[in-house]
Amino acid sequence: MNPFAEYLIAALLLLGGAFSLIGALGLARLPDFFTRLHGPTKATTLGVGAIVVSSVLYFSSLGEGIGISEILITVFLFLTAPVSANMLAKAAMHIGVKTTDDTRGNPWEQ
């Protein structure tokens, strides 16, 4: 395998792992539900995206062609992440989840 491809794949893997970890850290340490919503829905999606891209590159550099399943997984995750985030935000507003004191503005009544 050519060395440039190796470094690229390794870098993408580490980037994906780092984003997954940071997203989970955000989930663990941000103060209220609405701020926690930001970590996973984005950082994690991008993290999985980077890992999946490195998988595509790895298998195609081995000469096994471009993987369709990987691309479908990425597209599906990017399409569904905003929908689930929106549904969860609505559910949280309905239940009346507490927000931190320094949040400006108010959630709407559901």
């Binding site: 103060p31 209220d32 930001h38 479908l72 985030a85 609505k90 949040t103 959630p107």
Partner: protein, 162 residues
């Protein structure tokens, strides 16, 4: 013409057909027949959920828009990552965003874009579809967010849909 053949949503049917070819192991006679059946049946069953035809006027501008969104996702992910790792508490805010878009599909594309770009989540749309409730993770002021979204995304969507 296409309506009578059982394709009330030609674009949806085409998308379903192509996706099915991807999902099956290689294109074969069986996958083409099955793809056609799915492309016919699924739009018929879900007909009630598609009240009107999408009014895409300039669909060729979509790839450029998607590229901009992708670039923003990557760039903004880094800033959210930095915020999560820094000890400073975030400054969260709920913003009411006045929508200028009118088409329901355009509004849902804008809402999805806002949710995908890190730092902002679209939480709700008002019943008359004039206001969008956005939660931002870290912002100096409301106006800053409203201007950024309007300049980057809404203007481009308005060009596409009107």
């Amino acid at each position: 013409m296409l309506d009578r053949l059982g394709f009330p949503q030609p674009w949806l049917s085409a998308l379903l057909f192509v996706t099915w070819q991807f999902l099956s192991e290689g294109v074969s006679g069986a996958s083409i027949v099955m793809g056609l059946v799915l492309a016919m049946v699924i739009p018929q069953i879900t007909h009630g959920f598609w009240p009107e035809r999408p009014a895409f006027v300039k669909a060729w501008k979509m790839p450029a828009y998607l590229l901009i969104v992708l670039k923003d996702i990557v760039a903004a992910s880094f800033s959210v990552a930095r915020l999560i790792l820094s000890p400073r508490p975030p400054r969260p805010v709920f913003v009411c965003y006045p929508l200028q878009l009118e088409h329901p599909l355009a509004i849902s594309i804008l809402a999805s874009t806002i949710s995908l770009t890190p730092g902002t989540v679209s939480a709700d749309v008002s019943d008359d579809q004039t206001l969008l409730l956005i939660h931002a993770l870290d912002a100096e002021s409301d106006q800053e967010i409203i201007d950024a979204i309007h300049q980057r995304y809404e203007k481009r969507l308005m060009e596409m849909f009107q």
